[in-house]
């Protein structure tokens, strides 16, 4: 009861109480002086009643009262009319509301006891309106179209972009076409059955720039159903600095060296001629660094390709500086296997290999091309990261050592691929290996967003990781976007912005305006099925059906009517006034 009592002028409480008591004491003392003490106690009680009433009048008490309860149905896009009807049947008085994005729809003073949501659900950024309300999500619309999409927005020129997704409830004969900015079809898929199917489209990116590609949906009669844009950013490749160490010249190295040098990478090759004498080759380098395996020189390289023999023959100091370079600077080391890769290389890290007596294999990606390999493969291990596998046997893999990686491959004589005219396969094989192992550049700022499609006028949540102290991010219009630092990770910052126009936009860092994050903003009319699917998913998560639907009563504190206090006061004061007269 006490809990339920509170006052509007709560802050005066103690003053009022003390004043009332003092007043009562004065009254009591005055009455005590009176000769007629017959009704003293009655008078004292009445005085206290009158004073209490007076105090209440000043403090204005509030009492908890129960509110009227009502239920509500929120209709969102794609709701099921049957469901609405059955709800209406069971609750005649239920209130029906059509949801509009970004509009407030709950009266905070008259909150419904239960809210049913039908259809795809309300936008995640409107969830706050339903906080602490009893919400039941009943919608589960049958999605149709592209409901999931995954691709890397930023790609290096020459790379193949893979756009993966899930198409819900595909109709037979329906097509998805990936179109270039100039509206030429690049890749397509035709669904052969009516079902929900994953799809994968890919294309090679040839030209640097920020582009708008399209995913086109067409039915079996080639009528356009949907055209949704995706932004793809193609960036120039950046050169690597590679050191190749060979105990003796091999064809493998010769071809690898030619390939890398022709692509503009900075290459230092040291092959041993005889004891203490070496042949040094420098490609695309202006300054020739000595190959002494000191920590300082190794800092200049992104990758060291070394044959197993030379690797073993490294001196103690050289090994330790190599290890330091790998651990601290993230240098990559690729160990070339020589004919038979005998034993385990267990400097730096240990790879477990298993003999398998297979020397010729075909890979799934190129079924017609034969590869030669050492008769062994790598044993899978928790820390082993596979780069190439065939039939679940790891052929090329890397292991992390500190910041860097050590790579090993069972492939042998890959230069034969070039001799047989399979240049592209050779290039892919080596590019993937080198990309996986070589040193990663640590960016000043690393930006990330969680969503693959960003919509106009809808919140874009982004994270940035940086070593910079107190970074400040700027929007396209150079407005400051406030950032929140992560509680546990001091390098992680979170922000939220609302893109104002469609197309390519940027976020930049106030401290270093060269650090720019570019993202593609789509109009809200696009990607409907994807959006609806994501909304449904978020609604399901938010208003998980496991929560029991109870008829929660809502109460409110309302000021008591002061009339009664006045009445009690007048009556008690009136008696006290009249009694001496009588």
């Amino acid at each position: 009861m006490i809990d339920s009592l509170s006052f509007i002028n709560n802050h005066w409480f103690w003053y009022v109480v003390i004043f009332a008591i003092l007043l009562w004491l004065v009254f009591a003392w005055k009455e005590w002086q009176q000769p007629n003490k017959s009704k003293l106690y009655l008078k004292l009680v009445l005085a206290s009643v009158a004073l209490t009433s007076l105090a209440f009048i000043v403090l204005k008490p509030l009492v908890v009262s129960q509110l009227d309860t009502y239920k509500m149905v929120v209709l969102t896009k794609g709701y099921d009319v049957n469901k609405l009807d059955s709800i209406k049947n069971s609750n005649k008085k239920i209130q029906v509301l059509n949801y509009e994005v970004n509009e407030s729809f709950i009266n905070p003073n008259k909150k419904p006891s239960t809210i049913y949501i039908l259809g795809e659900g309300i936008a995640p950024f409107d969830f706050y309106q339903l906080d602490s309300l009893n919400v039941s999500y009943l919608g589960n619309p049958k999605a149709s179209g592209i409901v999931q999409l995954k691709f890397d927005q930023e790609q290096v020129v020459g790379n193949t972009i893979n756009i993966e997704g899930l198409y819900a409830n595909a109709k037979k004969g329906r097509k998805i076409i990936l179109e270039s900015p100039a509206n030429t079809g690049l890749d397509s898929i035709v669904f052969s059955t009516d079902s929900t199917q994953p799809f994968k489209l890919s294309t090679q990116l040839n030209v640097i720039g920020n582009y708008e590609y399209h995913l086109i949906e067409k039915d079996s009669l080639n009528n356009l159903i949907n055209s949704n844009p995706i932004g793809i950013r193609v960036v120039p490749e950046s050169d690597l600095s590679i050191l190749i160490i060979n105990g003796f010249p091999t064809f493998e190295t010769k071809y690898l060296k030619n390939y890398l040098a022709e692509k503009g990478h900075q290459l230092t090759v040291r092959s041993q001629v005889t004891r203490g004498k070496f042949k040094y080759e420098y490609f695309n380098l202006n300054t020739k660094t000595a190959v002494d395996f000191s920590e300082k020189t190794l800092q200049n390289f992104d990758l060291v390709i070394i044959d197993a023999q030379s690797f073993r023959n490294l001196g103690r100091n050289q090994k330790s500086s190599l290890e330091k370079a790998v651990r601290n600077d993230g240098l990559g080391v690729f160990i070339q296997s020589n004919t038979v890769f005998n034993g385990i290389v267990n400097y730096l890290t240990d790879f477990n290999v298993q003999a398998d007596n297979i020397t010729k294999i075909n890979m799934e990606a190129w079924p017609k091309i034969g590869f030669t390999k050492s008769p062994l493969h790598l044993k899978p291990n928790f820390t082993l990261q596979s780069i190439f596998e065939v039939n679940n046997q790891i052929l090329t893999a890397s292991k992390t050592l500190g910041q860097g990686k050590i790579g090993l491959s069972a492939f042998e004589n890959t230069y034969q691929l070039i001799l047989n005219g399979n240049d592209k396969v050779y290039q892919t094989l080596w590019s993937e290996t080198i990309n996986a192992i070589s040193k990663k550049q640590i960016p000043i700022v690393h930006w990330e967003t969680s969503s693959s499609v960003i919509f106009k006028d809808e919140p874009l949540k982004f994270k940035l990781r940086t070593q910079i102290d107190k970074p400040k991010s700027l929007s396209e219009q150079n407005d400051l976007i406030p950032l929140i630092n992560d509680l546990n990770n001091s390098h992680l910052w979170k922000g939220k912005t609302y893109p104002k126009t469609t197309g390519w936009q940027k976020l930049s860092l106030a401290q270093d305006t060269t650090q720019v994050f570019r993202y593609y903003v789509t109009d809200t009319t696009k990607w409907k099925s994807l959006k609806s699917y994501n909304t449904t998913k978020a609604n399901k998560r938010q208003f998980s059906t496991a929560k029991a639907v109870t008829n929660k009563q809502f109460t409110t504190r309302q000021p008591l009517s002061l009339v009664w206090f006045y009445l009690v006061f007048i009556l008690s004061i009136g008696y006290l006034w009249l009694e001496p007269k009588l």
Binding site: G158, T184, N210, V273, K277, L285, Q403, N435, Q441
Partner: protein
């Protein structure tokens, strides 16, 4: 009376009218035919006038007069009793009878004249006219008329050159209008193609053609020029038309550009010139195997057909035949040019020619081979294309091949076919000895004598090398004095063994075996000039072999002598040691005459033994090589242009001067590619050209240009590249933890 005369006059007029109508019908029919064929009104009118004049002269429609009418009516109406001429005469001059007759005729005439129609071929002329029109119509309908209408063809709307001002913003005046455009291709004479004239500005013509442009404008212009990728040619003004002609050398692009009097310049779309090559003739030989062989007894003729085709006409075709005689070093070739049995029609595009070659007529003998191929040339000038067929072989089998071993090293085959070597003689002699018991004495002796003869022949052959035609040396008998010697021998034998010997020998031993030459009974004395001549025939002076060889050969000959002696005496055992000795000597001679060719190959420098394998490395140096290889990017401007267009489209930006120069550079890059493949990139090139000259453009055009440019870029490859990865303390901690628990 007057009335009757009127009837006759009317009849005459009707007659004339019908004839005129006939002429008109003929003329009209022909005129319409001409119009259909030429689709030219002028020709039709000319044709009409011409045919009218011609037919008028034939039909002479003005000829019939009133007299002719009256006589015609007389002839065709018996009731008028040949009296209509009376009507023409004034009645005053007539006799009363005549007047009576006149009266009578007048009445009949009006009735009769209705039944008589003037002579005419109106139906025939109608049929002719209708059929002419029909022919014309059909010809027009089935496009046979094209053949007649090369001269003037209306400009196809699609082909009209559209000119655009380079700067559309300050355009005050109207664009001068193009009235007429034509392009004439004069094919090279040899192609026999008529010059073709068209309004299409894209040119596809054979190499060496001359093309000429003709443009006519409604307004006077300052300059009109044709722009090539790198050149600009001003067009000449001739009779109000701008013309230019060019000899085609290679494929390229061009566009027109003109500037009017106000200084505004306009340019046209880009057009392609595609030059096709005159292909060389193709020659196929049929009806014969690539390699044919005849037996000596066969009927030695080869027959084949040759199919020769060319795209513009053949000039000539002939067979090049080579006969090879002999083998090895003594092979001889004889080349002949043969013509086909059927002659080639010059200028024909495809010909099937046949030829029968009689090997006997080619003077071929067994062992000879004939190689032939057909060569054809086309009419191309100045240098005709020549092509030839594959080579075919015809051989006559040689059944008598010489396999000769002994003298292989001497280079020249001077041995007779029946020659037996010393080794063979030894083998035969040994065989004879073995068979001694089995053979009858007669046979044995006979064989032995034969071997003796062979031994003699061998000796004489070797004697030739010695030049001992007249061997004077003691005990040496040569071919020439053989007869004397044998005669002598026979003489000796006469005493006891004459019959015996005669029984076992038949006269092989004489060189005059078959009595071909009358035997010299007497030998003339020696040549008196002998003393003055340098004679190689003298064994002593022969310079064929060096001294030691000669003595060796002499010795061998001596051994042969002895061997022969014993063979002739039927004692082969005794002859064997001599034969062996002769063989050894001959072997020696042969070996000494053998020539050794020095082998060509790597001559290693002499190894210095003192430094070899010493393990010293002072002279070995580390080697340093420095090279910079550019990662060459193909079509950089096209790539930049693609992105620039994307930016222009997305940002709605205006095309700047810089963009225009970028598009021009991209256009130049694209042109290189377009020359190889004009069909694919011409459109883009045109649009790019427009974009680089004119700032006004539409979004769709930018998209199509971008599309075309993307198409032109070859697909790039996947290459290693540096990538980003953020790393912070938490990452590092995690990695450390992982490593510990690995």
């Amino acid at each position: 009376m007057i009335e009757a005369k009127n009837i006759l006059t009317k009849f005459t007029q009707r007659w004339q009218l019908l004839l005129y109508l006939e002429v008109f019908l003929y003329a009209l029919g022909s005129a319409i035919l001409v119009y259909f064929l030429s689709t030219n009104l002028l020709f039709a009118v000319l044709g009409f006038i011409l045919i009218s004049a011609l037919m008028s002269f034939i039909k002479k429609p003005w000829q019939p007069n009133i007299k002719a009418s009256s006589s015609f009516i007389d002839n065709h109406a018996a009731t008028l009793e040949h009296s209509t001429s009376l009507l023409l005469k004034p009645s005053e001059n007539l006799s009363s009878l005549a007047m009576l007759q006149q009266q009578k005729i007048v009445q009949r005439l009006s009735a009769e004249v209705r039944n008589i129609s003037p002579p005419n071929n109106l139906i025939k002329s109608c049929i002719v006219a209708v059929s002419l029109i029909l022919i014309g119509f059909l010809a027009y309908q089935f496009n046979l008329t094209d053949y007649f209408t090369t001269e003037q063809s209306p400009i196809n709307k699609k082909d009209v050159i559209s000119f655009q001002p380079t700067d559309s913003t300050d355009l005050q005046a109207e664009i001068p209008k193009l009235l007429n455009q034509s392009l004439t291709i004069y094919y090279p004479n040899y192609t026999n193609l008529r010059a073709s004239k068209s309004s299409t500005m894209d040119v596809i013509a054979v190499e060496g053609s001359r093309i000429s442009w003709e443009l006519e404008f409604n307004d006077a212009l300052e300059t009109v020029s044709i722009e090539n990728i790198d050149n600009s040619y001003a067009m000449e003004l001739k009779d109000g038309k701008y013309t230019y002609s060019l000899n085609l050398t290679g494929s390229s692009f061009y566009n027109f550009k003109f500037s009017d009097k106000k200084g505004n310049t306009y340019f046209s779309d880009l057009y392609a010139i595609e030059v096709t090559k005159d292909e060389a003739p193709t020659v196929d030989i049929k009806g014969i195997e690539q390699f044919t062989q005849f037996e000596f007894t066969d009927y030695k003729t080869v027959q084949f057909n040759s199919e020769i085709t060319d795209d513009y006409g053949l000039n000539e075709a002939y067979i090049i035949a080579t006969v090879s005689k002999g083998t090895g070093e003594s092979v001889k070739f004889r080349e002949e040019q043969l013509s086909f049995d059927t002659s080639l029609k010059r200028g024909a595009k495809s010909q099937n020619l046949s030829k029968t070659i009689n090997l006997e007529a080619m003077k071929m003998e067994p062992g000879d081979e004939l190689y032939f191929y057909v060569q054809a040339s086309d009419l191309k000038t100045p240098k005709p294309n020549i092509s030839r067929s594959e080579t075919y072989f015809v051989a006559i089998k040689d059944t008598t091949t010489n396999t000769f071993g002994v003298e292989g090293t001497l280079g020249v085959d001077r041995m007779p076919d029946y020659f037996r070597s010393q080794r063979q003689l030894i083998i035969d002699t040994e065989k004879l000895i073995k068979q001694r018991g089995q053979l009858s004495k007669k046979d044995f002796n006979f064989t032995s004598n034969e071997l003796g003869f062979d031994q003699k022949a061998l000796r004489i052959k070797y004697g030739e090398f010695m030049g001992e035609e007249q061997a004077e040396e003691e005990g040496v008998i040569t071919q020439d004095n053989l007869e004397d010697f044998e005669a002598e021998n026979e003489h000796h034998g006469e005493e006891g063994e004459e019959d015996l010997l005669a029984a076992y020998t038949h006269d092989h031993d004489g060189s005059n075996e078959h009595n071909l030459v009358e035997e010299k009974k007497e030998r003339e004395s020696e040549n008196p000039l002998e003393a003055f001549a340098h004679s190689h025939d003298d064994a002593e002076m022969a310079t064929l072999f060096e001294e030691s060889l000669r003595s060796k050969l002499l010795k061998a000959l001596g051994e042969m002598w002895d061997s022969e002696l014993y063979l002739r005496l039927y004692e082969p055992e005794k002859s064997l040691p001599y034969q062996y000795r002769a063989l050894t000597l001959l072997q020696d001679i042969k070996n000494s005459a053998r020539i050794y060719v020095h082998r060509i190959g790597f001559d290693p420098p002499p190894i210095k033994e003192d430094t070899r394998l010493s393990g010293k490395l002072e002279d070995i140096n580390s080697y340093r090589k420095n090279e910079t290889l550019e990662n060459e990017v193909l079509f950089p401007s096209i790539r930049t242009a693609i992105y620039r267009i994307e930016q222009i489209i997305n940002n709605n930006s205006i095309i700047s001067e810089r963009d225009q120069s970028l598009f021009e550079r991209a256009g130049n890059e694209l042109a290189q590619k377009a020359i190889e493949n004009p069909g694919q990139f011409l459109q883009t090139l045109q649009e790019l050209k427009q974009l680089s000259e004119n700032k006004d453009t539409t979004l769709e055009m930018l998209r199509t240009i971008q599309k075309g440019l993307i198409k032109a870029i070859p697909s790039s490859e996947f290459h290693p590249s540096k990538s980003d990865r953020f790393s912070d303390q938490i990452n590092q901690l995690l990695l450390k933890e992982l490593e510990i628990h690995d």
